[in-house]
Symmetry: C2
Subunit: 207 residues, 2 copies
DNA sequence: TAAAATAATAGACAGTGTTCATTTTTTTGG
DNA sequence: CCAAAAAAATGAACACTGTCTATTATTTTA
């Protein structure tokens, strides 16, 4: 068979990614199957490999989509924020992960072999996410230290990421921790404290 | 065949775990194969399943071993510490992960299905690791807030974990970060600062 | 309309985890 | 010492996986 109905190559690619996304969200990274994706959209396994070449590239494409949805999620939250944009950011990080656990975890479950290079869209989407955070961090830092915003943002992302990971994978539950989100926020607040309110100025750091 | 040479059941179990550990360290979680482990110790695949019952339980047993080695690593480092035990702890966390990337990552790569319960030794070994950190954090906290040591320790572990994850999986490299360890240590120092030196006392927080 | 290019197929291959009837070995009891 | 019971080990079979590729079908082009 050749081209079926009126799907262009780009449309087919999109179909596969969308269905793959649905699959991945449903069964998780470990049970994801390219064959099953093909079956569900009425194509054969060969087509998937004609389009994406390899399992890794398919996952990469799906994860790129997850990054975009995640960034959208954060932007929407920030737009509706009550003013405490740092809290909004941390809550947005957590809520996306909690609402899409399999998709979120898949981003970190997937370790690509050293011979596979990341597609530029993947890196771009990822960079955008970092940028969203960096912007907010910079806005909260006083002029003299604002230049350190990128590095501090990286560190705070890692901090929140660690807390979110432990929240989703059960580590915190094992430790007896019941409120990972507030814990993460407390850490972030600490790091921004000397900046947010100026040195010495009292600050309502909730625990 | 029945019992071969003089291996008791416990010895066989140990053989499998040791070889599995070696395998996992070599090829990583994604490429790990129970069949290969069996082959390498001169047994058939059936024996592995007679002993461990399932792939998940085998991984769990191997990861339990990793936890014990990790705790040993930290204890040894602490014993040889120059006095800055918090730094020693953070460095110990990172160095173990860096020296055993596949083993360390496998701990978090492995998501066990909800019907599988963790063996008690697994939880115990994990709790011990937490305890090591909690002890050091408590030692550094002043009396009035010492009761908060367990919760703060959990949070700091998550913080360091996040930084270590990004260091190993390439996220920090993508972000342009070249010194994840010092970044993590800076965050930990911040959280312990009001405690370590008392409020207002100057403190040598390196960045 | 014939030829070239493109798209899609599905069988084959080498793996995987898992199960289990069968065989081998060891232990036990008389 | 040897037969019967218990324990240990086997490996073929099953249903899956990712990957490759020769074949077939369709579309586009000239």
């Amino acid at each position: 068979m050749g081209r079926r109905s009126d799907h262009s190559r780009a449309e087919l690619e999109r179909m596969i990614i969308v269905e793959g996304h649905r699959q991945l969200a449903e069964v998780g990274f470990a049970r994801f199957s390219a064959r099953e994706v093909a079956k569900r959209i009425g194509y054969s396994i060969g087509t998937i490999y004609n389009v994406f070449g390899t399992h890794d590239r398919l996952i990469l494409a799906i994860n790129t989509r997850t990054f975009r949805l995640w960034a959208d999620h954060l932007r929407a939250r920030l737009q509706a924020s009550d003013g405490d944009r740092i809290r909004t950011l941390v809550e947005g990080y957590f809520s996306f992960a909690r609402e899409n656990p399999n998709l979120w975890m898949a981003i970190y479950d997937h370790r690509l072999p050293p011979d596979v290079t990341m597609p530029p869209e993947y890196e771009a989407e990822r960079a955008e996410l970092t940028e969203i955070v960096t912007k907010e961090v910079a806005a909260v830092l006083p002029q003299p230290v604002r230049a350190q915003a990128p590095r501090l943002a990286r560190s705070l992302i890692a901090t929140v990421h660690g807390h979110c990971t432990f929240a989703l994978n059960g580590t915190f539950a094992l430790m007896g921790e019941t409120n990972p989100l507030e814990l993460a926020l407390a850490r972030v607040r600490e790091s921004l404290k000397p900046a947010e309110g100026g040195v010495g100025k009292p600050h309502d750091a909730r625990s």
